[in-house]
Amino acid sequence: MSEPLKTTDYKSNLKPIWCPGCGDFGVLSAIYKAFEELQLQPENTAVCSGIGCSSRLPGYINAYTFNGIHGRVLPFATGVKMSHPEATVIAVGGDGDGFSIGAGHIGHVARKNIDITYIVMDNNIYGLTKGQASPTTPLGVRTKTTYYGNMGMTFNPVRMLIAYKASFVARTFAGNPKHVQKMIVEAIQHPGFSFVEILSPCVTFRGKEQFKIIRDKVVYLNETHDIEDELKAFDIANNEEHFTLGVIYKKRRPTYYEIVMEKVTAKAKTHSNGTPEISKLLDQFQP
C-alpha cells in the first residue's frame, strides 16, 4: 500500500484566474478535500467542464481533466464514463453553461442515470463575459444585457433536477466549504447521476454582499428528512424564501452502465454465442 494521497497531491501547477473573493475558491478547496477523503487516484479520475468561470476548475486539479466547449460537459463526461466505467467522472460548470446553452442535456443524463457527478457553481450571472444575465439571475436585476432589469423568471435548478428524476440531488453553499465537501463526497459515492448545486457568489458582478444575503437565507436539512420522498423534495425546492441545504433527494436506481452490462451486452452475447469474429458478422450479408 502506497502513501495516502494528500490534498496537495490533487493540485495542479496552474493558478486560478478567478477574482479575489470568488465563491469558486471555496468549492475548489472542498473538492481537493473530498478527493483526499475518498483517496481518489488521479489516473482514475476525470474532471470535465464546458465554458465559464467555474469551467476553468478542471485545470486546477491533478487528474485527467478536460475543458471543452460551452454547454457540452455532460455528453463529454458521458463518453468518458462509458469508456472507462471504473473511473470517477465529475462534470463541473456554472449556471450559464448548465442551465442555458447546455440545458438540453441535463434531462437525458438524469433519465439515463449516467454514473457521473455534476457540480454546478451557481452564481446567478455570466462572469467570464463580464456580467450578463444568466438563467438564474433574479427577475428585475440589472445586468449588462438587461439594463432595465432582467425580464425572465429564474430557473429553480433543484426542482428541475427532481422533476428529471435525477437519482441524487443536493444543494450547498460555497460559504461553507465543509458542507460542500460533505455533499461532494456523498455525490461521488452515489451510484448513478448525482447533482450538486453550489451557491457560489460572484462578488464582482453580483456584489460583495452576496455571501451575507445567501448566508441569511440558508437552512440545513436535518436527519429526519426522508431523502427518498420525492414530493417532500419538491416542497423543499419550492421554498424560495430559504435555501435549504443538504441531500434533498436520493434514490438508488440501476445506472446506465449496469443496464448496458446486464440487459444489453449479456443479451447480445447470447444472440451471437460469444464474441463473433468479423467473418462471422459477414454471414448476415449472405444472400
Binding site: 495542479s12 501547477n13 496552474l14 487516484q41 488521479p42 489516473e43 482514475n44 476525470a46 470535465c48 476553468r56 478542471p58 485545470g59 491533478n62 487528474a63 485527467y64 481533466t65 478536460f66 475543458n67 471543452g68 466547449i69 454547454g71 457540452r72 455532460l74 455528453p75 463529454f76 463526461a77 458521458t78 463518453g79 468518458v80 464514463k81 462509458m82 469508456s83 472507462h84 473511473a87 438540453g104 442535456h105 434531462g107 437525458h108 448496458v260 444489453v264 451486452t265 443479451k267 447480445a268 452475447k269 444472440h271 451471437s272 464474441t275 463473433p276 468479423i278 467473418s279 458478422l281 459477414l282 450479408f285 449472405q286 444472400p287
Partner: protein, 597 residues
C-alpha cells in the same frame, strides 16, 4: 439498349405492396447465383404507405452504376408509378409487366407507342388470392412471373423467398411458394413471349449483399470501434441501427443521444478516455457537429465522423443524394481546424474508407470525416466475399494511438512538439499521464495560453501532421488510358457513372481517362499533377450546383499553367448522374477537341 447479360428492372407500386421485399428477394437470389447486383430504393416521405419504387440491376458482368434506363418495368399499381415517372427513365423498347386488373385505363398511362409494344398483363392480385389465399402475396406472384418471362434464376428465387420468411410460420412460407409457382405457371400456360429479352448468365460463387451504410458500420467494427454515440437522421440511420445491434456483441457500447451536439461531444469524451469512437450523421446533423469537430482538432482527439450527405441546404432532400458538403467538411469549423476528409466511392469502398479513417485518426490524432452520400449509403450492391475477408484487397491496417513511454511520463507533455506533430497520447488509467485537454489554446503541457507566439507554434504543430499524411498515402483510382488528352475528375459516388462512361467511351474509340481520389483532404497533389500534365481538357463532374469540388481543386491545381481547359459539369443533387449524361458530355467535349485540332 437490350443486352441479355444485363437487365435493369424497375418495380413501382404503393408502399404496402411489398415492393421493397420483392426487390430484396430478387437481389438475394441473383447474388446467390454470383451475379453482379445493384439496387436502389426510392420511397416517398411517408412513414408507412405512400408510394415506393425500386430499381434492380442484375448483370453477368461487373456493374458500376444503377443502369440508366429501365429494361423491364413492373407495375403493381399505375397510380403510384406516375409519381416516380421522372426517376424511372424507361428504355424506348421497355417491356412492361403489370396487373391485368389495374383500375387505370390503358390510354391514361403515359407510355409512348413503342413502349407499349411488349406489355404483359398478369392478374397478380387475383392469382395471389386464388393460390396463396391473400392478395398480399401479389409481389411474390410477380417475382414468379418475371422469372419465367426473362429466365431469371428460379431455384435461387424460391430459396430467397424461404429465407425471407424464415421467421414466419410454415404456412406462410408455403403460401408464398405457391404464389411464386402460380406466377410461373400462369406465364407458362397463358403468356406468349414476344419480347427478345432472355437473361443469360454463368453461375458463380455467391456474393454478399450489402448497403453502403452497413459496410461503414462493419468497417468501423473491423477497425476496432469501442464506442458509438449518435442521433437518428436520414440517410445515415442504418449505420447506428447496425452498430447498436452488433457492437455490444463485441463488447462495445452504442448510445443514442439527445442530439448531434451530444453525439459529437460524447465520442470526444470516449476518445479522451482512450477508446476508438465514432458517430454518423447527415445534413443538419453535421452542421450541428462542427463546433465539436473543431474541438477534436484543437484537443487532438482521434474520432471518426460519418456524413452520409443528403440534399441541402437546411432540411433539403432527406432521402436524396448530393455532394455539396465538401467545403463544409474541410473548412466547416471556425478557426484553422485540421481534419482529414475521405470519400468512399462505392459500397465496398465504404468498408475500406472506414478502416482507413480509423487508421488515420488514431495515428495522427485528429478528426477524420467520411463523406459518403445517400446514393452509396442506401443502395445495395453484391460484393465478392473474398474482398471483405481477404487481407490483400483494399485498406486493412489497424492502428492504436501512440501512448507515452516511461521516459515521456517523467515529465509528461501531452502536446509535445515533435517532428511529425504527433505527440504520445495518454489517457485515463495511465499513471503519471494526467493532463488538461482543452479547446482553449494551450502550450505543450496543456496549460491555457493566450499569447500569439504560442498560438503560432501550436497551430503549426497541429498542421504539421498533414505533411506526413500526404507522404504516407498515395491511393487514387485511374480509369481509361493515361495518355488520353481528355480527362474527368470526380469524387465519391459519382465514380460509378464516370467509370462506366469512360469504359464505354474507350470502347467507342474515344480516348478519355478519369481520376477519383479517396483521401480528399489533405490534398495529395502528385497523382493529380501527373494526371493533368498531358491533358488538353478536363471535365470536373460533381453533384454540387455551386461546383465546390472544382473550386477546391483550383486552389491546388493551376490548370491554365498546364494549358488545360476546365469544363465544369455540375448538377444539383436529387438524382445521381446517369452514365449517359457523363458519356454525352465526354462525346461533346471530344468533338470539340477534334474540331479544334
Amino acid at each position: 439498349m437490350l443486352n441479355n447479360k444485363n437487365i435493369v428492372i424497375g418495380i413501382a407500386g404503393s408502399g404496402g405492396e411489398g415492393i421493397i421485399s420483392a426487390g430484396e428477394i430478387l437481389v438475394n437470389a441473383a447474388s446467390s447465383e454470383g451475379l453482379f447486383v445493384f439496387m436502389l430504393k426510392s420511397v416517398g416521405a411517408q412513414i408507412r404507405g405512400g408510394e415506393s419504387s425500386i430499381r434492380v440491376r442484375v448483370s453477368d458482368l461487373p456493374v458500376q452504376s444503377q443502369g440508366d434506363r429501365i429494361d423491364v418495368l413492373v407495375v403493381l399499381s399505375w397510380k403510384n408509378f406516375l409519381r416516380f415517372k421522372s426517376e424511372l427513365q424507361l428504355e424506348e423498347k421497355v417491356i412492361i409487366v403489370s396487373d391485368t386488373d389495374d383500375p387505370m385505363p390503358d390510354e391514361e398511362i403515359p407510355l409512348t407507342e413503342s413502349q407499349r409494344e411488349f406489355w404483359y398483363k398478369i392478374p397478380f392480385a387475383k392469382l395471389a388470392e386464388d393460390h396463396a389465399g391473400t392478395h398480399q402475396a401479389k409481389n411474390i406472384v410477380m417475382l414468379g412471373a418475371i422469372s419465367e418471362i426473362f429466365s431469371l434464376p428460379k431455384e435461387a428465387l424460391s430459396k430467397s423467398i424461404k429465407k425471407k420468411f424464415k421467421y414466419k410460420t410454415a404456412e406462410i412460407i408455403e403460401s408464398n411458394i405457391k404464389a411464386m409457382t402460380a406466377g410461373i405457371e400462369y406465364v407458362k400456360t397463358q403468356v406468349v413471349k414476344s419480347d427478345p429479352l432472355t437473361f443469360e448468365y454463368q453461375h458463380r460463387e455467391p456474393r454478399l449483399v450489402m448497403q453502403g451504410n452497413e459496410a461503414i458500420a462493419l468497417g468501423a467494427i473491423y477497425a476496432g470501434l469501442d464506442y458509438y454515440a449518435g442521433y437518428p437522421i436520414t440517410p445515415s440511420t442504418e449505420i447506428m441501427e447496425w452498430i447498436s445491434r452488433y457492437l455490444p456483441q463485441r463488447d462495445g457500447i452504442a448510445m443514442q443521444m439527445e442530439d448531434e451536439l451530444a453525439s459529437i461531444n460524447a465520442i470526444l469524451g470516449a476518445s479522451f478516455a482512450g477508446k476508438k469512437a465514432m458517430t454518423a450523421t447527415s445534413g443538419p446533423g453535421i452542421s450541428l457537429m462542427n463546433e465539436g469537430i473543431g474541438l477534436a482538432s484543437m484537443a487532438e482527439l482521434p474520432v471518426v465522423i460519418i456524413n452520409v450527405q443528403r440534399g441541402g441546404p437546411s432540411t433539403g432532400l432527406p432521402t436524396k443524394t448530393e455532394q455539396a458538403d465538401l467545403m463544409q467538411a474541410i473548412w466547416g469549423s471556425h478557426g484553422d481546424s485540421p481534419r482529414v476528409v475521405i470519400a468512399p466511392c462505392d459500397v465496398e469502398d465504404c468498408f475500406d474508407s472506414t478502416v482507413l479513417a480509423f487508421y488515420i485518426a488514431e495515428k495522427y490524432q485528429c478528426p477524420v470525416i467520411i463523406l459518403s452520400d445517400q446514393f452509396i449509403g442506401h443502395r445495395k450492391e453484391s460484393i465478392n466475399p473474398e474482398s471483405m475477408r481477404g487481407s490483400k484487397v483494399g485498406f486493412r491496417k489497424i492502428y492504436h494511438r501512440d501512448t507515452p513511454s516511461a521516459e515521456d511520463l517523467k515529465d509528461y507533455h501531452r502536446f509535445k512538439v515533435t517532428e511529425t506533430g504527433v505527440s504520445p497520447m495518454s489517457y485515463l488509467g495511465i499513471k503519471g499521464g494526467e493532463y488538461l485537454g482543452s479547446g482553449i489554446e494551450h502550450d505543450e503541457k496543456g496549460s491555457p495560453r493566450g499569447d500569439a507566439a504560442n498560438h503560432a507554434k501550436m497551430t503549426e504543430k497541429r498542421w504539421r501532421k498533414f505533411g506526413y499524411i500526404k507522404e504516407e498515402f498515395r491511393f487514387e483510382r485511374f480509369y481509361g488510358p493515361k495518355d488520353a488528352k481528355l480527362g474527368i475528375i470526380a469524387w465519391g459516388s459519382t465514380k460509378g457513372a464516370v467509370k462506366e462512361a469512360v469504359l464505354k467511351a474507350n470502347a467507342m474509340g474515344i480516348s478519355v481517362g478519369a481520376i477519383i481520389p479517396q483521401i480528399i483532404y489533405p490534398f495529395l497533389i502528385e497523382p493529380f499533377k501527373e494526371f493533368i500534365e498531358n491533358k488538353d481538357r478536363i471535365i470536373i463532374a460533381e453533384m454540387s450546383y455551386a461546383g465546390q469540388f472544382r473550386r477546391y481543386l483550383r486552389g491546388f491545381l493551376r490548370f491554365s499553367q498546364y494549358g488545360v481547359t476546365v469544363v465544369p459539369f455540375t448538377k444539383a443533387g436529387g438524382a445521381p448522374f446517369m452514365v449517359e449524361e457523363i458519356l454525352d458530355k465526354i462525346i461533346e467535349e471530344w468533338k470539340e477537341m477534334e474540331a479544334r485540332r
